[in-house]
């Protein structure tokens, strides 16, 4: 369950503190708000985590332009040869800091760069982390610090009525590599879903809009598991995932999505030639 559900009041303080940290250009000044030791203990216990050892690379924008839609990309360079066990993303200061955990299956692919991209909400100034677990059970982490831009970009959906009208609409795409024999292929899953965080007041009913978000995404290639993702509302409205998978025979992707209301949405790549 999401643990440190922070109050809005606390976030106010955090923003001021983070602003001060930025002025000093010294993320260290931010240390007293450091959530990471707790998150780390909770997820990985006392297991050692290698930092910046080149096994995993995290790409995030230098400046958050739209706090509701922050693109993140995780790359596992081709020099990493073995299979991957899991990948966990954190945004330390989000209300639900564990963004997503991916557990990889037999169709994950090897023999080239593996990568995963999604878009997240960033509630505030925060560290964002990608922790990769390789086949041998070792943990490797890449970290970035995100500074919010402030201004008009709130975290809310721009057109909630239009989003809700299309809930469950799914697009699944395969991007064949330039060289068809390449062992690593790329795919994309998009789901129309508000991914409500349960923290926004509906002015018409004076009640909080209930949390409803995508909880599980299972992606299979030709029937074999690429990954299963456990998600939270730190993922943006209309969740969007780009990922790599191992070349198969037909390279058809099948996706099953389950949200916190128990609704199940399915999608697959269009049969070729259609």
């Amino acid at each position: 369950m999401p643990r440190p559900l922070k109050t809005f009041a606390r976030n106010f303080g955090l923003a001021a503190l983070a602003a001060a940290a930025l002025v000093l250009a010294m993320p260290a000044a931010y240390a007293e708000e450091n959530m990471w030791p707790i998150l780390r203990q909770d997820e990985f216990g006392d297991r050692p985590i290698q930092e910046n050892d080149g096994m995993v690379v995290l790409e995030a924008p230098q400046k958050v332009e739209d706090a509701a839609l922050v693109p993140l990309t995780v790359r596992v360079p081709p020099s990493v040869k073995g299979k991957l066990k899991s990948l966990t993303l954190f945004i330390d200061n989000n209300p639900d800091p564990k963004v997503a955990k991916l557990t990889f299956g037999p169709a994950q692919g090897t023999g080239g760069e593996r990568n995963f991209s999604t878009r997240v909400r960033v509630d505030n100034f925060s560290h964002v982390r990608a922790v990769l677990e390789t086949e041998d059970g070792t943990l490797h982490m890449a970290t970035k610090f995100l500074a919010a831009a402030g201004g008009c970009a709130a975290m809310q959906a721009k057109d909630p009525d239009a989003d809700m009208a299309d809930i469950g609409k799914t697009i699944v795409r395969v991007f064949p590599p330039a060289l068809e024999s390449d062992p690593i292929w790329a795919g994309q899953v998009m789901i129309k879903h508000p991914n409500e965080n349960g923290m926004q007041l509906d002015i018409n009913t004076a009640k909080f809009i209930p949390a409803r978000y995508v909880k599980e995404v299972t992606v299979k290639r030709d029937g074999e598991l690429v990954f299963k993702l456990d998600g939270t509302f730190s993922i943006s409205t209309n969740p969007n995932f780009r990922f790599t998978f191992g070349k198969g025979k037909a390279n058809d992707l099948d996706v099953v999505i389950v949200d916190t209301d128990g609704a199940v949405f399915k999608g697959q790549t269009q049969p070729k030639g259609s």
Binding site: E65, T73, G151, C152, D159, K192
Partner: protein
Amino acid sequence: MCTPNLISRKTFLKAALALAASPLLRYSPAWADSAEVSEVAPGVFVHQGRYEVQSPENRGDMANANFVVGSEGVAVIDTSGSEVMGEDLRDAVRAVTSKPIKYVINTHMHPDHVFGNAAFKQYNPTYVGHYKLARALGTRAESYITAGKEMMGEKVFAGSEIILPTMAIEEPTTLDLGDRTLLLEPMPTAHTDNDLIVTDSKTDTLFLGDLLFSVVVPTLDGSIKGWLALIDQLGQRKAARVIPGHGPQTMQLPGALEPEQRYLATVATDVRRLIAEGKTLSEATKTAGFSEKDAWKLFDQYHVRNVTAAFAELEWE
């Protein structure tokens, strides 16, 4: 051209105080003319916002703020970006007329148009907005307040608050100011999902809010497809003058809309092409629409955000 016809007493006093406090100050401080309004047509007053983002110096003076004076009362249309700016606007109204301030209308949810609302509470006006404005403000109140404090500082921002509309406009509605009426029309999702436009019957002045940006780069917080479609319709309207949300005090249709249309169309075309090429959102934010860079102020502040929003919308086509 219209010339500013007054400086509020409060602003004058502040300026005097600042000059007394800093005798070496030659250039007038940034806020010295913040409450200037111009009568652009009989009874129609416009305060032109600055081409800047909110700061302690400009006190959130960014968007155009306006009022219309009728024989029975006054309607304020957008209240600028802080309570102190709202006060200056209120003083500007009071310098022109003692008639009751009956309506405070917000053309949409953005902070630079609504945070001055609080300055009018004492008159107990009817606060008016698009029927989706209340929801939009309600869900964003926290983040708007946090951002306002960050950008303007606690001191300048003090007193600013989100005031929700008490009158929701779901279809074209007329407000009576005595010798003139205002026609309020809710628009489909474009700049935001709660854009409202206002026409003054007496002078045929059309207030477009942020459906019309000039000089300052448009900001997309609704639907790029919706906005481009709406620009086509708005361009066919006739009005003696239009008042943009950002830009000069008055402009003329249809030419006023052309730069904005070109900008949005360029962004849409570039983003669609990148999506078709299989590019990612991050890649798109590095190239799409950059041919427009030199045509707009505040491009660096808002353009990448616009591309992000456009990409997230157009990838569903």
